[in-house]
Amino acid sequence: MQSREEAFMARVQSGEKVEVMDWMPDEYRNLLIKQIHMHGISEVMGAYPEREWVMKAPTIRRKLALNAKIQDEIGHGQMLLRLAEDLSQPYGRGREDLMDDVLDGRVKFHNVFHLEAPTWADAGVIGFLVDGGAIITQAMLLGSSYAPYGRMLKRIVAEESFHMQHGESVVLALAAGTPAQKAMLQGAIDRWWPAMMFFFGPREMGASSRRMLDYRIRTMTNEELRQKFINRYAPRIQALGVSIPDPALKQDPATGQWSYTDPDWDWFSYVVHHNAGPRSADRLGLRREAHDGLRWAREASLQAARHFAKEADHGISAGYAGL
């Protein structure tokens, strides 16, 4: 007889979708929490490198756009954390715990957000390549077997459309600019290209990533995603008159596959596991400051929620009381 776990696996592999209240194997739940928690926290931590450039953006329109993008990233973090919270309910873990995890090093965030963004071109290249890479991953996840994740990603991808155009717009302006601007762009591409090769994960996927494929939480391998990325971005970067810092980068005309130089897997891996990148400590410091600095507001909200609940118990209108 087929076990409950086998029946579940057969269900998701036939393309059926799973909802939060459905029965699911612990392994499936834990993989989802790991994936969505990391995704949500990466959205939040992704706001920090760009935040550094809001004050220094070259025009008011660029400043508005960068600010709008940061608001989107924090919003995406909120939406994704809600999903991770719903899944974490059996473990009795809520928002406060999931946010504490990043400060205590219990959840990782994307390698790219540990790095320096020393020039305006870096702000543009983050929009161009980091958002570009994230969009490829997120478009793949639209087909996830976990329906709440798929639905949320629909909203997120729709908003990322502006991030993509904004990043390209900054990069195109620099590529069409003065020699100094072109040199600045070249410098940023040199810094971000190896990080983007790491971004999609090792060539041979780890055990949990392979299980995510089995469960259709994700639908493509790391290498398939990386190939999609190179295929989309390498020709565009080269067209801009910017060189890619990888002499081994070459497309096999027969298979269409790109060969590339391996990033420093050990170094990047150490960075994400130990928060040991050049900017990890500063950005986590800002996150801690925001988290601690606003604790009073979260506590006041809890008090207010208790007050409303008590009024509702006594039959007094528990409606919205205005701002």
């Binding site: 459309s161 155009q165 390209e168 195109l172 069409a176 801009l240």
Partner: protein, 117 residues
Amino acid sequence: MEFPRDTPVYEVFAQREALSFPTHVGSVRASSPEMALQMAREAYFRREAAYDVWVVPESAITRAREYPEVLPVAPEEKTYRLPGGYDNAPLWKRFKAEAQTIEQVAEEMAAKKEGRS
């Protein structure tokens, strides 16, 4: 306490398929949430199937229209926040590269997925 003359109102939301969002379709009166689901089935789903149906007590809903200060309105110009606010195509053309849209990326990724199964 005076005995109410009518059963409570439940607002009905329906989700057509797994990846669509629940949409408000109307309301029903019923004695309990379970009965409200039965009533909703009779009133709104005599022909079409649904992936899921939600019933929510009307009293649990707070409407932003009653609090205009929180109603999202967009009086100022926000093109800087929209993909249409950026016309990158002519510059990509100048560099002899193709402009791309997020819809094309989503299509490519979905096509690949179907190819696998």
